[in-house]
Amino acid sequence: MALAEDNKERHPRVPLPQWLKTTLLTLGSISVTLLGLLFVTFIIGRVMPIDPVLAIVGERASQETYDAVYLQLGLDKPLLVQFLYYLWDVLHLDFGTSLLNARPVSEDIARVFPATMELATLGIIFGVVLGVPLGVLAAVNKGSWIDQFARVLALVGYSMPIFWMGLMGLLVFYGILGWVGGPGRVGIFYMDVVPPVTGMILIDAALDRNWEVFKDAFSHIILPASLLGYYSLAYISRMTRSFMLEQLSAEYITTARVKGMSEWNVVWKHAFKNIRVQLITVIALSYAGLLEGSVLTEIIFSWPGIGSYITTALLSADMNAVLGGTVVVGLIFILLNIFSDLLYKVFDPRAK
């Protein structure tokens, strides 16, 4: 007691510097959100109409076995304690074992996740490369045919069911025209040819210098990736347009024009430079959205990613797999959101 007081006198309370305070607050709010996410999935797992004990021991197990597993799973403990157990497991990346193939769910997710990431990354590349210039052009030529075109493109993107568009794409480009590979990641002859290093088949094939596999994989990924790319294009081009319009009506743009600066420099060196941070935020958000959009796309294209994994697990009542997949997708979603928030705060002085 005396020691503590002594300590206090020797170290008078220094007010925390502002940056530390903000960092602590941000970290606090992140951990609350993460805890909430885990709590929601935990509760979903509890109210599922599936007996977790029966799922493990099977219907013909004796009462003793049943009780033993019941105790082993900690189901006799209060809900809060069970949640803490769950938290402990998740922190150790332990999502339990899949009921379908008796393998750890975390291993399964690590195996399927690169496929989703490959798809979503290529999709976002399409979306950015086409969407940003389209948005800028639409803003510069407001009201022109290109603006109308961008508007219609985005409107159709917002209104089209993604799984239906995938089907139509398969029908036209694979079934009728034969321009692209069919469902799946590679043709059957190229399965497991290249050693899996990253799990992303395009990169693996390139590392292995196996260009034949690369070509085949590319012909398979191009359709689902451009589909996802179209959806992010719709969003990115609209946002780019409205950011650019805001900049172009600012006074410094008028000044630059009055000084006789070329239109190209006004648009790209002045206006565009000022929307970069906002744009990166939008891109991070739509990347997170693509992870979600990939659920239905993966089903259509038999793409062995996390979306297919969750839905297959769901249809076969494999609860651990469903919850594990949901937590992982939710975590990535949150992290991308936080990342875009932080980016905004760090790089945009006005956000303070």
């Binding site: 979903i44 917002y158 089209m160 992870l291 769901l314 997708v329």
Partner: protein, 303 residues
Amino acid sequence: MSQTQTLRAWLLTDTPTSRRHAKLSAIYQGWLSFRSNTMAMIGLGILVLLVLVAAAAPILAPHDPFAQDLGNRLAPLWSDSHVFGTDSLGRDILSRLIYGARITLYIVGLVALIAPILGLLVGTVSGYVGGWVDVVLMRITDIFLAFPRLVLALAFVAALGAGIENAVLAISLTAWPPYARIARAETLTIRSSDYISAIQLQGAGALRIITKHIWPLCISSLIVRVTLDMAGIILAAAGLGFLGLGAQPPSPEWGAMISEGRRFILDHWWVATVPGLAIFTVSLAFNLLGDGLRDVLDPKAGE
């Protein structure tokens, strides 16, 4: 004719004679500016047509949507008495589409009721009461916002079991947070205004202030948001139906119809194509209508 002229003049007057008169006049002027928006009118027209089709389904449908005719499976487009052909069990696709309009409206209607009301409740309470109630409610809202919607809906459906009602519940549970955010923001600006202090001085309680004075002012921004969200709701419901987690067979839900037709996509493309076009048309109509409504009700939000 002269009577319509005077009605028009009465509605457009600058000096309304009563509160009701002023309200009607405001609505009429809003309608006039909405009517000049061709795209929004097209959207409205499609939706009115959808409601009429759904209401008159038994009269319009040429066949029983559940009647199977295994001798006439997968009949092509325009084949006799089956305009859109038949599906894998020989059921008339057009009739199933017409009855499916009812399911779509049912799902959209319920979600459009549940989610905004839930959001309105959470948002206004959070904004009006403030303090730790606000902190807790907004944290919960953030947690729900942090989930990807479709994945969360999938997990909810997994917990509740497949079916239309559960799909509605799952979509509503993922759709309410943005409404709560909007309602809270509106409440915060309204709460500090003078007329709220005036009613407080007259002795009105929190319940009365929230229901009578804050809710009516939140409604218009919520309506805009709901209309813009409808397209998303339709797509989410169709997605769940497609995955086999929404409406169950033999229900003629559009998403489920696509899922059924998916197996024959390369040889019998129309089975999956036609319901997809229906979904696209309706969600496009909601997007057009939402854009138009936003311009009328909430001019600030437009570009």
